[in-house]
Each structure stands twice: as C-alpha cells, then as structure tokens.
C-alpha cells in the first residue's frame, strides 16, 4: 500500500439532485438573508462589486452571479509543498490525506499518565512523533503551548513544527498580523516569495462563526493573505441544534452559504487565489449544549460537504476522527474509526482532526496518536478497495491448488500479501495464551511503548541556520508589536 496515493470518493451520501438543491438554497440564503461581515474594508470590497451592504448592521446580501463567478475562479487543485518533496500534498479530486487534531490545551503525560497543560516541548515532540507515523500526512498544531507568549503562540508552534517534521505545515492564525507572519515563515522556508509561488510551504485556515457571521480578525486575515496569494482554508463549523439547524441538511446548507461568503470575498480581492473548502461542523449534544466532537453525524455532515465542494471543483478540508472520550477506550475507538472511515470514503482531500483528539478537542495524548495511526492505516486499506484483475482473481492458482489443497506455499501468495493485506503494527491478533505470555498488554500500553521508542530514536533535520534566523526575526518583531 502506498500511503501517499490514497483515493476516496466511493461514498455518496447525497444524490446529484440533492446537491443541486442545497447549492440553489445556499445562493438564496446569501441573496435573501445575507451574511454578517465585521470588517469595514471587506464591506467596501463587497459593495464595490455589487453586494447590498447594510452599514448599520454589517449584514451583506450577495447576488447569485457574484457568488457563482467567485466559485468559477477557484483553482480546482492545490499543491501544498513539504520540506521533503516526497511528502507534498496534492489536494485535488478524490485524493485523501490525513492530519492531526488541532489545538487541544491539555495533554496526558506519556510517563505518568497525569493530565497537564501543553508546553512548547510537547509541540516539538508531537511534531517529531507524527513525522514518524506513516498514515499522518501533514502537520497542524497538535497542542497549545501554555509556556510561550499567548499572543503569538502560533508562530512558536509553527517554528517547532518546521524544525521537527518534514511533512507539510498548516496553521490557524491568532490575529490578522499573525496570519501574515505565518505566511512570511512559509516564504522563508520556501526561499523567497517567487519560490513560495512555485512551492507554497504553508496553508492558513479561517473559519466563519455560525450562523452567518465572519468576524473582523478572520476577514482581515483573508484580505491580507489573498493579496499575497497565500493558499487558504475558508470554511465554517456550525453545531447542529445550537449554532446551526438541528436537521443535518440544514446544517450542510448553512456551511455552504457561510463558506461561499468567505470565498466570494477572497476571490474579489485576488481572482484565482487558491482556496480549500472547509467544513468542520458537527452537532451539539442538546442535553447540555456541548460540542459533540465524536458524533457519528459529524461523519455524515463532512461526507456531504465533500460532495458539495467537489460539485464546485474545490479541494476540501474536513474533520473526521474525533472523540469525546477522556481516555483511549472503546468509545474513542468507535467514534474515531466511524468518522475517519466515512470522511475518507467521501474523498476528503485534507482530513484534519483525524488523530490524537479527545474530550471535545480539549485533550490529546501521545499514545492516542499511535493508536489512531493504526486506525488510519486500516481506513487507508479500505480506500484501496478490491482490485479485480486476472492476476488478483487468481483463477490459475485456484486451478493449481485445486480442491482440498492450500495457498500457503505459493509464490503468488507471498507476492500479494503486502499489497492486499493490511498488517497491524499495534493491534494484537495472537491467541490468548500467546498474548498472556507476552505480558498481557493493553493496546494503550503497547502504544505508549511505541511512542517512547519513536521519541527516543526518531530524528528530524532542523531548518538551515539562515531560515531559523529569519524565523527568530519574525517572532521578535511580532512580540515587539504585540507585547508579551
């Protein structure tokens, strides 16, 4: 199996007619209800191009043709370059890549098992851990460091990331200035703005706040990043029942309207700027109002949103592989696997939160990443499906072995094991006696051992000195501007 050549798209939740219906109703929402834009410059840009702006409320109605033109301008494929070109992401069509969970604040200590706040050292260790995990393709900040300047924490995280993994990097900005600083870090790694155009070394994500509002910080970031041509993720995260309608169809509709509103602005600023379609919505548990991150509905919503994005021919950014459990238990396994499988089968190009996250995105652990890597390996095997060729149909071998024989001794069997069978590295398939004789280890314990082994032995080449100096200058300048 080649983890860098995965393809989804087998799962269709919505029919073509339903997709068209959602598209038309989304255009109605934008034209009749409108969307709130909390940023004066964005309002001016939209108004200049024909949007109907109510300056007293910030609510802006977008004509259908304006939105449809913006969709047409979006490139349908996106190269996201990694330090190691073999690890580049080609977000397009039904290609599938997985990434880690984003910005929890707490981590389970690998040695003691206690829960504590994340640190910069965790950022470095998590980056190095996923560098070694073969079914995690890109980096997104996996823990919030509590021990750095919180105003520019994303710059510290991305610094830690580039120095500890050669996989592709993406980040959430903490301010509009932070978004531009992240872009500058990407430019520094690429070796200049011209080189960045050829090999964009970072993607930055901005989300609307449901229902139908784009806040000032994210709009400032979208406008600034569109001007420099930096790849962006634009999307939204409605929670069914609280910030979105309870029915999943209405929630997908809301995501489409909110995302299109953001995309329209970006394309007005700079036509053809590369954008990834973002949907990370789920439902709220209506007994508490809390975000249900492990909900099976999240899988359905994200699968459907992927169909919409493909209808628009845009690369997609999804969520799939989360859990609300507090420990790496059966609940975590079931919730994560169902979501990841659904979204991968729907052909999510850039599926984040596919590993590591627990407790509504607030908690993470090293062992959970190792366990989820195994789960993603199994999902990857599913994506490969069943190849039907004369060779794989094995008619000749069935004839050769005949009734009452076996296939163990065939060269044909040996030749196909590695491509046809996923071999677990973590999950135990031994007999009870063997398992017991080998220490009767829980998968969590095996995962902790593997995590410790990776952290003790896996090395990643750090950035060249001159890039590191540029990083330090960017962070120093940001801290001078923002203060501590």
């Amino acid at each position: 199996m080649d983890p860098w050549n995965l393809k989804g798209g087998q799962l269709k939740i919505l029919s073509q007619n339903e997709i068209e219906e959602i598209h038309q109703r989304a255009l109605d929402v934008l034209q009749q209800v409108g969307c709130f834009f909390g940023h004066q410059e964005s309002l001016s840009i939209l108004e200049k191009h024909g949007a109907v702006v109510d300056h007293s409320t910030g609510i802006t109605k977008l004509p259908r043709n304006m939105v449809e033109e913006a969709i047409r301008l979006c490139p349908s494929s996106m190269l996201l370059a990694a330090r190691d070109p073999k690890r580049d992401i080609h977000a397009e069509g039904d290609r599938v890549y997985f990434g880690p969970g984003t910005l929890p604040i707490k981590v389970r200590n690998l040695e003691t098992g206690e829960i504590r706040m994340g640190t910069l050292k965790d950022c470095e260790d998590f980056a190095r851990l996923i560098d070694a995990l073969e079914f995690i393709h890109f980096f997104k900040a996996m823990i919030m460091p509590s021990d750095v300047n919180q105003k520019v924490a994303e710059l510290y995280m991305v610094n830690a990331a580039y120095n500890n993994t050669t996989k592709q990097i993406s980040s959430t900005p903490f301010s509009a200035q932070g978004a531009l600083d992240l872009y500058r870090m990407g430019v520094a790694v690429a070796g200049g703005e011209g080189a960045f155009k050829q090999r964009p070394m970072i993607i930055i994500n901005m989300l609307a706040v449901s229902p139908l509002q784009w806040g000032r910080t994210n709009l400032e970031a979208i406008v600034a990043l569109a001007r420099v041509g930096c790849p962006m993720i634009i999307g939204s995260e409605p929670q069914g029942g609280t910030t979105g309608p309870a029915p999943l169809a209405g929630q997908v509709l809301l995501n489409v309207a909110e995302t299109l509103a953001g995309i329209t602005l970006a394309q007005l600023v700079r036509p053809s700027v590369p954008i990834m379609w973002g949907n990370v919505g789920s439902i709220s548990d209506m007994r508490s109002g809390l975000f249900a991150s492990g909900a099976v509905e999240l899988g359905l919503i994200n699968a459907a949103a992927n169909q919409l994005a493909k209808f628009y021919r845009l690369p997609t950014y999804s969520t799939g592989g989360m859990s609300d459990s507090k420990i790496s238990d059966a609940q975590a396994g079931v919730e994560k696997a169902l979501q990841a499988l659904m979204v991968a089968l729907a052909g999510g190009n850039y599926i984040h939160d596919a590993a590591g996250l627990m407790e509504s995105c607030l908690l993470t652990s090293y062992e959970q990443y190792v366990i989820d890597n195994e789960m993603l390996g199994m999902v990857s095997r599913v994506l490969e499906g069943i190849r039907v060729t004369p060779e794989t149909l094995s008619f000749e071998q069935i004839k050769e072995v005949g009734p009452r024989g076996n296939f163990m001794g065939l060269r044909h069997t040996l030749d196909h094991i590695h491509t046809e069978h996923y071999l677990p590295q973590l999950f135990d398939r031994n007999t009870y006696d063997t398992w017991e004789a080998r220490g009767a280890k829980d998968v969590r314990e095996v995962a902790r051992e593997r995590a410790r082994e990776i952290l003790a032995t896996h090395e990643v080449e750090t950035l060249p000195g001159e890039v590191q100096e540029e990083f330090e200058a960017i962070i120093r300048k940001a801290e001078e501007t923002y203060g501590k």
Binding site: G38, I105, Q150, F174, Q239, S284, L362
Partner: protein, 215 residues
C-alpha cells in the same frame, strides 16, 4: 382556588405552553391573587424543576429555552401589577455576563445566562467582543455583584486575566465576584488569574454564583 391557578401556571411552563401560561397568569391577576406568590410558587418552582432536570441530563436545551419563554409570557402579565404594588419579585442577585474582547462566540454565555435567569438571578447580558473597560463600565452602571466572563478561544483567554487586573487597578476588585468559564477554561486557569469562581458547565456556574450571593 389560588392553588389551582398557581398549579395551572406551573404546569403550563413545564409543558412549554406560553399561551396557557399567559392565560393562567391573567386568570390569577383577574382573581386578585398576589403576583409575588404566583411568581415564587408558580413560575419559580416550574423553572427550578426544569433546571434540575437539565442538570441531571433529562432535558433538552430547547425545552429549557421554551420554558423560559413561557415564564416570560406569564411575567409580562404580572409585572405591571407587581410594580403598581411597589414590590418586586425576589431576586437572588444581579449578574453581568459578557464574552471577552476578540471573541464573538456566544452560545456558552447564552446557556449560562438562561440558566442564571431560570435560577432567579437578574442577568445583564452585554453581549460578545467586550473590552475590559466596557465590562467594568456596565458593571458600574447596572450595579451588579457578579461578573461572568466567557471565552471559547484559547487565544482570547488572556483577556480574562486582564479583566481581573483592570478591576484591581481601578480599586474595585473587592466589589465584584468574577466567575470565568468557556470550553478551554479550567479551574487551574481560574486560580492562576485570580478569578473568584469557575463554572465548568452552566449548572456549576449557577451553583458557584448561588454560593457567592447566598443571603
């Protein structure tokens, strides 16, 4: 007779029926029942029951909101008479709620506000993206005793610390109890920034407030 009407009022709110709640309140008003009794024994006890069910996970959020709406409908009938008599329904205390600067998420704050109101507090909700100065200004104007701060984003949590500092610098720290909450906020964080209380969830935010305002 009064017990029957108060019972109807309570049942209407529990059944989420605003029209029936309004009717019962009107009937009580027409029959000359004491509005304070109707509020305390009818409306208050219905909302307490709903609050208990919510806290134990046996009620959906929309049921809580619709019960509060039904209660508001009944209060609307009783309020003019209450004011005319110069009395007021007993309030447990006054609370200000705000989402801090840079954060426009308001669901968590709204749920806490709803539960606080249902529990009998007077709540002044000044909305989202509020600076420390705006929050302090509103706290003074409305003469609140408790300030509830909400943040969903890890990036806006530092504004809570700044709020406590603003209260200290203005020399009014001891006049307010500060309660913090929101998904990324922890007891550890609340202690670190010198907040008085921490609401791990909406029910616990209400319980902490009750403790502060116990009279």
């Amino acid at each position: 007779m009064s017990e029957i009407i108060i019972g109807q009022l309570r049942d209407a709110i529990v059944a989420l029926d605003g029209d029936k709640a309004r009717e019962a309140a009107q009937k009580g008003f027409d029959d000359g029942l004491d509005p304070v009794d109707m509020i305390n024994q009818g409306i208050r006890s219905a909302l307490d029951l709903m609050g208990e069910r919510f806290a134990s996970g046996n009620l959906f959020l929309p049921e809580l909101m619709l019960a509060a709406k039904a209660a508001d409908a009944a209060v609307g009938i009783l309020e003019p008479e209450l004011l005319r008599r110069g009395g007021a329904a007993e309030k447990l205390g006054k609370v200000l709620m705000a989402t801090v600067e840079g954060d426009i998420h308001d669901i968590g704050k709204n749920i806490v506000t709803l539960l606080m109101k249902s529990a009998g507090f007077e709540v002044v909700d000044i909305g989202v993206d509020k600076t420390g100065e705006e929050i302090l200004g509103a706290a003074k104007v409305h003469e609140v005793e408790v300030i509830g701060l909400s943040a969903l984003l890890t990036t806006t949590m530092p504004r809570m610390k700044e709020m406590v500092e603003i209260l200290q610098e203005s020399g009014v720290r001891d006049q307010y109890k500060v309660i913090v909450g929101g998904a990324p906020v922890t007891q550890e964080f609340a202690d670190l920034i010198g907040a008085d209380g921490y609401g791990a969830d909406a029910t616990r935010a209400v319980n902490v407030t009750k403790r502060f305002l116990a009279r």
